[in-house]
Amino acid sequence: MYVAVKGGERAIDAAHEWLAEERRGDVSVPELSVAQIREQMALAVNRVMAEGSLYDPDLAALAIKQARGDLIEAIFLIRAYRTTLPRFGSAEPVETGEMACDRRISATFKDAPGGQVLGPTFDYTHRLIDFALAAEGEPPAAREALAEEAPMPRVTEMLSRDGLIQQEQASDEVPPDLTRAPLEFPAGRPLRLQALTRGDEGFVLSMAYSTQRGYGRNHPFVGELRIGAVPVEMEIPELGFSVEIGEVVLTECETVNQFTGSKTEPPQFTRGYGLVFGQTERKAISMALVDRALRWEELGEDNLGAPAQDEEFVIAHSDNIQATGFLEHIKLPHYVDFQAELELVRKLRAEAMAGQQQEAAE
């Protein structure tokens, strides 16, 4: 147990002064602006917004600067800030079907209506260090083409029309919110999805990967992956109608998974779902795989004892701020606790040694 300590103020002040100096680094190198981080470290900003559970690119960029690029520390700053905000209310659920897609691909249908749009992707790059980026210079303008106004229907809708995939039941029920009430298990799918979308990318990725390697395999196909902006609408209490108050970029992943049917359902495909703030496709795909693995009970599947099927294990360990808070606290003074342990060990040793001496004497 951590016991409060007093003193050390002067050392702490000095440590923070030095931290500020180290943060700045070599002053002969120009200082980074928040806008530079926001524009040029955009994927780090997106990760901090997603796991900080607060969409505000300028704030996330500032947090990254303050945290010296330690993204978990930056997420911690965002979470702490978030708790100071009064909650004005809840927006209407976002309509991802109406997304202005920067990217939209399907691994299941090559001729998906609306087409396959690669967007600004790392896919198909050679993953070779580009030394040209070390030199200054602007890249050439990206090419443009005539954009058709064609709709991009959901890939899962095409399967749904023929009854080949499990239906999602729409409802107007207000979802539970883990930032307002303590998480209890079983949590249910809405809370699981909230926890996963703000969960640690590395953790969610590893849990998803474990299902691919055989610990609760669920045979996923990426039915559709889309990235783009969606409007955020909210009913204004003073006016009684809803208004667009802003826009967020989201990454959505829908997986199509094998399912052989159960006692009540004929064979059909099932779904995993990932939806994450920003351009965050590794996270969204991972989220969809873990969501699907956690649905075993609802779909009448066997519990294989796989870690990714264990709701309590996954959700209780997905939050990197909770994890790092508990992990890092053990480096803080535990002097009283340790003194007690020390005395106990000394006493046990003394007793054991006294016993040995007695045996030897007999």
Binding site: M49, L54, Y55, D58, L59, L85, P86, R87, F88, G89, S90, A91, P93, V94, T96, C101, D102, R103, K110, G115, Q116, V117, L118, G119, P120, T121, R143, E144, A145, L146, A147, T156, E168, A170, S171, E173, D177, T179, R189, P190, L193, Q194, T197, R198, V232, M234, I236, E238, L239, F241, S242, V243, E244, I245, G246, V248, L250, E254, Y273, F277
Partner: protein
């Protein structure tokens, strides 16, 4: 009225703060007002839907600044705008109020129309870049099928 107001409030909220400021500056002298609610920053929870179409779950929050003001002539303007820019919220609420006055045509011509056009232009530019990355995948014929 509410349908039109919904549109202009959305245009004001989603405008780039610098662009709204530049547009409002072209309006000339602005009327005095009193605050009904001074600009304050808060959070709004944004839900998504399972599978895109199913039951809702909470995705995360966005920062929002809101305010309400009353013109000397009595019209009330509201603003709920994404982000933490209090001056942006004030300008949005002021334009919302002005749209209910005789200066509505000025606001429409000098503020709303150019801002809506700028947004459409920005969208078009992204859509054109996206369209240039549209691919046709061909499934290769496998040896055993040949």
């Amino acid at each position: 009225m509410s349908e039109e107001r919904k549109t202009w409030m959305g245009t004001l909220a989603t405008a780039k703060p610098a662009a709204l400021k530049a547009a409002v500056d072209t309006l000339g002298a602005l009327p005095g007002f009193s605050w009904l609610r001074r600009p304050e920053v808060g959070g709004v929870m944004v839900p998504g839907r399972m599978g895109g179409t199913g039951a809702a779950f909470n995705l995360g929050e966005i920062t929002v600044t809101r305010c309400a003001l009353k013109l000397e002539s009595g019209e009330v303007g509201h603003a709920y705008v994404q982000g933490r820019d209090k001056a942006h919220a004030e300008r949005a609420a002021l334009c919302d109020a002005l749209m209910q006055t005789g200066r509505a045509d000025d606001v429409r011509r000098l503020v709303l129309t150019p801002l809506a056009a700028a947004r459409a232009e920005a969208r078009k530019a992204r859509a054109a870049r996206a369209a240039a990355t549209k691919v046709e995948f061909f499934t290769m014929v496998r040896g055993e099928d040949a």
